[in-house]
Symmetry: C2
Subunit: 242 residues, 2 copies
Amino acid sequence: MKIDPSSKADLSAQIAKAIRDAIVSGALIVDERLPSEAELSEQFEVSRATVREALKRLAAQSLIRTQRGAFGGAFVNRLSFEEAYGQQITTSTLLLSMNAVSFETACEARFALESACAPLAATRRTADHLATMRAEIFRQTQPGLSDEGWCASDVAFHRALVDAAGNPVLSYQLAGAVEAMQPLMNMITFTARSRGKIVSLHTKIVDFCDAGDGAGIEEILEALALYTRQLGQEMAQKKTTS
Amino acid sequence: MKIDPSSKADLSAQIAKAIRDAIVSGALIVDERLPSEAELSEQFEVSRATVREALKRLAAQSLIRTQRGAFGGAFVNRLSFEEAYGQQITTSTLLLSMNAVSFETACEARFALESACAPLAATRRTADHLATMRAEIFRQTQPGLSDEGWCASDVAFHRALVDAAGNPVLSYQLAGAVEAMQPLMNMITFTARSRGKIVSLHTKIVDFCDAGDGAGIEEILEALALYTRQLGQEMAQKKTTS
DNA sequence: AGACATTTAAACGTCTGACAAATGAAAATT
DNA sequence: AATTTTCATTTGTCAGACGTTTAAATGTCT
C-alpha cells in the first residue's frame, strides 16, 4: 500500500483517508484488527508518528478503537447509535452556534422533522414512552424548576416523542435537531404563564399519542411551533430595546 | 492549564477534550488562533507529539484548521454546512451499513423526513430547484443510464426537493438520511418498468412543487415510499431463493 | 518615495530512536 | 491442575532534530 505523493495534503491526512476508505468500502470489516503501527509505517513508508496521527484522526470519528499490550492494536469499531448520537449533537450544536442560524430557521426545521414522526409515534408508542413523557410533564409543573432544568426536561420530552416512533434511524437524525436547539431555547426566559401554556400543549400531545391520533399530535405540534416562535420574537425584541 | 492525572484516558484524548470544551463553550471563538504546538506542550506539560495527536483529533472533526509558516498555527474553524454535510453522510452511511439496519427502517425514516419538507418546498421552491429536478428526471429517462447513474440521479433529485424547502438546517439533517440510503438502493436492480414508474412519480412531484401543492407532494411521496419498499421486498425474496 | 527582491524568524510536518506501561500467551513452578 | 512468572508484542509518551512553508521585516534599486 502506498500513498499518492502528488497530493498536497498532509501525509497523516492521506493515510487516514486511505484507511477510512477501506473501512467504508468494506475491505476492512467490523472488529478486524489493523496492522500494528510499525507495520503500517512500513507499508506506507512513513514514520510511526505520522501513522499515529492518522489513527488518532480515525479514533476521533469513532471509526477505530485501540488497545494496548500484546495482541492489542487498532480495531475497526462498530459505530453504535449512541456514539453517532453524540457526534451528531456536537456537530449540530456547533453548526447552529457558529453560523448565526436564526431561531426561526432552527425552530422551523425542528418542528417539521418532529411532525414527520407524529404518525409513527401514534401507532408505535409503548407504555414506556408515554410514562417518560408524563414524568417530564410532571417535572415541568414543579414550581422550583430552574430555566436550565426546564429546557432539559423539554428536550427529554421531545426525545421521548421521537423515540416513540420506534425507528432508530429517525431517532438518530432527530437527536441533533432537538438537542442542538437547547442552547437557543436557553436564551428564552420562560415565565410561569408560558410554562403553563406549554405544559398544556405537552399534555395534549401525550394524550393524542395515547389515543393513537397522529393527526392530533401534528396539530398540537404546529400550535407549539407557533407559540415557540412567538416567544422567540419577544426575546429578540427585548434584546434590541435593552 | 493542566490535565487531570487521575483520568484513565490517553493524554492526547484529554487534551483534545479540553480544547474541544473550550470551543463548544465559546471560550475560544471562530478564527481565534490557538497557542503554538510548542506553547501548548508547555502549558499541558506534555510532549509536542502528544499535543499534535490531540490537534489531529480536532482537525478530523473540522473543529480546527492548521496553517504552516510564520504566524501560522491552529485556528478555530467555522464549521460550514458543507463540511457538516460530509461528516454527517459518512457517519450515517457507516451507521446503516454496520448495524444491519433493514431496508424497511431506512426507507421509512427517509420518506418520513422528506415528507416533512414537502409543505415548505411547495411554497419556497425557486425556478432553480425546479430546473434541477426536471434535469434529473431527464437523465433518468435516458436508456443507457447505468444502475449507479440512476441511483446518483435519484439522490440528486431528492436533494433538490429537500433544498427547495429553503431551510439549511433541514437540508443538513436530511443530507445524511438521503445519501446514506444510496448504498442500500444500489442493491436493487431497477428494471425498465420500475424506472418508468418512478420517473412518472418524480414528474408528478415536480409538477405539484411547481403548483405549490404541498399536500400533493406528500401524497406522491407516500406512493413512492410504498413502491420503493415493494422493490426492496422483491430484492429480499430474490436473495433468499437464489 | 515606491516597487521589487532578499533575508529571516516562526511555525507546522516529518523522522529517528528511545523508554514506559499494558497485556495476553507461554513457560515454569508448586 | 492451578498458580505464578516470564516474555514478547504493541500502544503511549518523550526528546531532539531537520525540512518546508509562510509572512513579515529588511534591503536595494529606480
